[in-house]
Amino acid sequence: MRARIGTWAALVALVAVAVLPVAYMLGASFVADGRLSLENWRHVLAEGRQWALLRGSLGLAGAAAGLAVLLGAPLAFLLQRTDLPLRRAFRALYPTPLFIPPFLLTITWLYLLGPKGTLSNLIGRLLGRDEGPVLMQGLWGAAAALALSWYPIVTLLASVGFRSAQASEEEAARLHASGFQVFRRVTLPLALPSIVSGALFVFLFALNSYAVPNLLSLQGVYTIEIVTQGTNYGSKDFGRVTATAAPFLLISIGLLVCARRLAGGRRLAPVGSRGAPPRDFALRRARGPALVFVLLVLGLSVAAPVLTFVAKAWPFRVARQVIAEARPELLSTLGIAAAATALALALGVPLARAAASARPGRLGAAAGFLTFLPFAFPGAALALGFARVWNRGSVFGVESPFVAWLSDLVYPTPAILVLAYGARFLPFASRALEHAFERVTPSLEEAAAVAGATRLRTLRTVVLPLSARGIAAGGALFFALSVGEMELGSLISPHGWGVITPRILNKFHFLYEDWVGVASLTVLAVALAPVLLVALWPRAEEGRA
């Protein structure tokens, strides 16, 4: 019962913090000239531009998802089901791009393959031309940057699918078929729903991206349009702006439902007894190419940004000056991200416990859906919603001293960003926490209860030791995403509390390459530090607990 009360309390807090701005924005789309109306929707749906935006956004997201599958799915198979050398090290490394803000990866590839980029020039020289090819541009450039950022999602989910095969199924198939046929007819079909689920998540994240298309000057995508509309027409036609964001929201929700359905039945961690694990596939002569593929993927997504920023910062003459100059933003980013992480864990733990329980019920399902809802709304639109909901002195036209007091407490302070980050990235923390709690076999908690342990004692001696590392991993992921956030930090950071990411973007535009190098390396170090701590955290085994 207490657990349910905790979940309800978290759900109410989630609605207040995260769902209200989304609901406000949706509600505003049904108001025109101060009364309820479908006018905004009629206007938006009648605009031919909507279809062009839809095509542009779906094209970008589809290309990013496709590329992410091409990188992530083979990687999952090689790391989980083959005798690839060094695979334990690769398994530890492959999630790293999730902790590198996509706009930094885009800047990296603009430095390398953009106009006059280092590699572009090199290719040009090799081809005997004055100018090398500009590969980092347009839709495919943006899609490649997004795929390099998000392919670990596909790898993570596909790994679950590849691990789900049972030895008996594959051994039976091996009696009549070659290794390749077993892979094609048994192993791959079992993993396919997980791969599709991963692709849908990447599709959604790419659909939601603003900073990457902005850096590459892509015009015909929803996120750019919403910022354009919001910043030009926000005061005049607020309802129209919100109606513009609405189709995006509906598509995102549809995708979320599909992705969660596909992934929902599959736990990220094995629970209870299962059959013997299947044999690894022997790579034989494919070992060399497989190793090259894995090194290439990790090189493009991890080594390239780090080495590029080191090269730009070298010989670090401006390092001290950059750190001194950017100290306020760095400290502000660090503090806000840390506080938002604490908020996300406080909200996410009870919600994820409900969603990960053996019988999640309606409450768990509602928790699962609502945590994802704010992420389905574009960041810029969410920022506009936060500004409207959290800076007011009245409700439905009635003055309220309490609302005014709350508004003064939150809106002009960093608390507004803490709440906004909490809402925006809760799905990531929540999913990681669900993963952590899935490791706790229900029978262990039941056994503790039968043995007379109180709930608190069970939590302390059974649940936490088994899930603490996962909780920390969820927190680390959330922290890294908050550190790399761009739109919310640009639009609603309070006076005197600017964050570092827009500053890096400004410096990039003004060609301060050494500054960008030093600041980007600092951001990467800050974002990755908690992950390294988690990696050093000893693993808890069920038996020991």
């Binding site: 354009t228 030009n232 007011r392 302070t413 005197g496 827009p502």
Partner: protein, 341 residues
């Protein structure tokens, strides 16, 4: 409530307490400013003011990600509960829009009486100073000397098909420039010009900064941008040169000044007025001219920036920014619905 929620309270309390109390009406304490001028240029000036005045300045800067219009919309959204004392804009027409929307309060700084009258609002709602010029930045590897474009109209010239670039005309100074063109050319001619430029394959970058990068990197032959972006390319020794447009038989180059204004109902109006006195003074204008943003002083007695040779002799447009401000929305509608479509 679940005990875990107790974790939340100190965290939020900590951050809720991070905003200091508004200063008393007599001044002192903290003053808040929304700054559209790039942080790189404005921050050191504001830090200097902090030291000399004893006031703490909390600034919210414009970013390349959301542009000036983001700040303007924030000020409009905060209309009923203003959180900002001063708006330091890097152009003028959006400031006049805010004045028309009733967001600003009048305050005529005494430090700006030496500015020509055309750069001060007669009712004291805004003061303009240190300007940027809209110039053509030409890549010298792509365009031979003597063959450079000479006018903004060259955006629609078939000679430059697909080789010229502008920032997004819905944002920043390019938005102002577009509205200015509508004002001086008239609706029909301006519409034709933009549609011709579109048909001519003009490249639209996300911002002036990106337009400059495209020209500096040789992705396009030239771009229309601001002098501060052009100066960044010159400073980085990119193969570029600046052309002042429309100097012969035309309106001249467009000057877009900074502007500063007091926000009505801000938390510390007295502190805001002190900050405006500082920003509108000759000292800031001189430092903006000498600094990396190479702003052009509007006070005739101040010298022009050394990096922009001949800028003082440049022919400039005579623009009614009040009329331009009234055209901003209709121009943006056209740009969004027809030019960017």
């Amino acid at each position: 409530m679940h005990p875990r929620f107790l974790l939340l309270l100190p965290v939020l309390a900590l951050f809720c307490g991070c905003s200091k109390e508004p200063a008393p009406a007599t001044g002192g304490g903290r003053v808040t400013v929304a700054v559209a001028l790039d942080q790189e240029y404005a921050e050191s000036l504001l830090r200097g003011f902090e030291k000399s005045s004893g006031l703490q300045v909390d600034a919210h800067y414009d970013t390349e990600a959301t542009k000036t219009t983001g700040l303007v919309q924030t000020l409009l959204a905060e209309r009923d509960r203003p959180r900002t004392d001063v708006f330091w804009n890097n152009e003028l027409s959006q400031t006049i829009r805010l004045q028309d929307a009733g967001i600003l309060a009048p305050y005529a700084p005494t430090s700006a009486t030496d500015l020509p009258a055309r750069w001060r609002d007669p009712n004291g709602f805004w003061t303009a100073f240190g300007a940027r010029a809209r110039v053509l930045l030409v890549n010298t590897d792509k365009v031979k000397p003597g063959e450079e474009p000479q006018t903004v109209s060259d955006l629609a010239n078939p000679r430059w098909r697909g080789r010229a670039c502008i920032g997004n005309p819905l944002f920043g100074t390019t938005a102002t420039h577009a509205a200015v063109l509508f004002e001086i050319m008239g609706d029909a001619e301006a519409r034709k010009f933009f549609l011709d430029a579109k048909a001519n394959g003009v490249v639209v970058a996300a911002s002036n900064g990106q337009a400059m990068q495209k020209a500096a990197n040789g992705e396009v032959a030239w771009c229309l941008t601001d002098t501060d972006d052009a100066a960044a390319a010159l400073r980085e020794k990119k193969p570029v040169r600046i052309v002042f447009p429309d100097q012969r038989r035309a309106h001249g180059a467009l000057l877009i000044p900074n502007s500063v204004a007091l926000v009505k109902g801000g938390p510390n109006p007295e502190g805001g007025k002190r900050l405006i006195e500082f920003i509108a003074g000759a000292g800031v204008e001189r430092r903006l001219s000498e600094g990396p943003s190479v702003q052009i002083p509007l006070r005739p007695e101040l010298p022009g920036p050394a990096l922009l040779m001949g800028i003082r002799e440049m022919k400039t447009m005579d623009v009614d920014f009040g009329a331009v401000a009234k055209r901003m929305t209709s121009t943006a509608d056209f740009i969004r619905d027809q030019f960017l479509r």
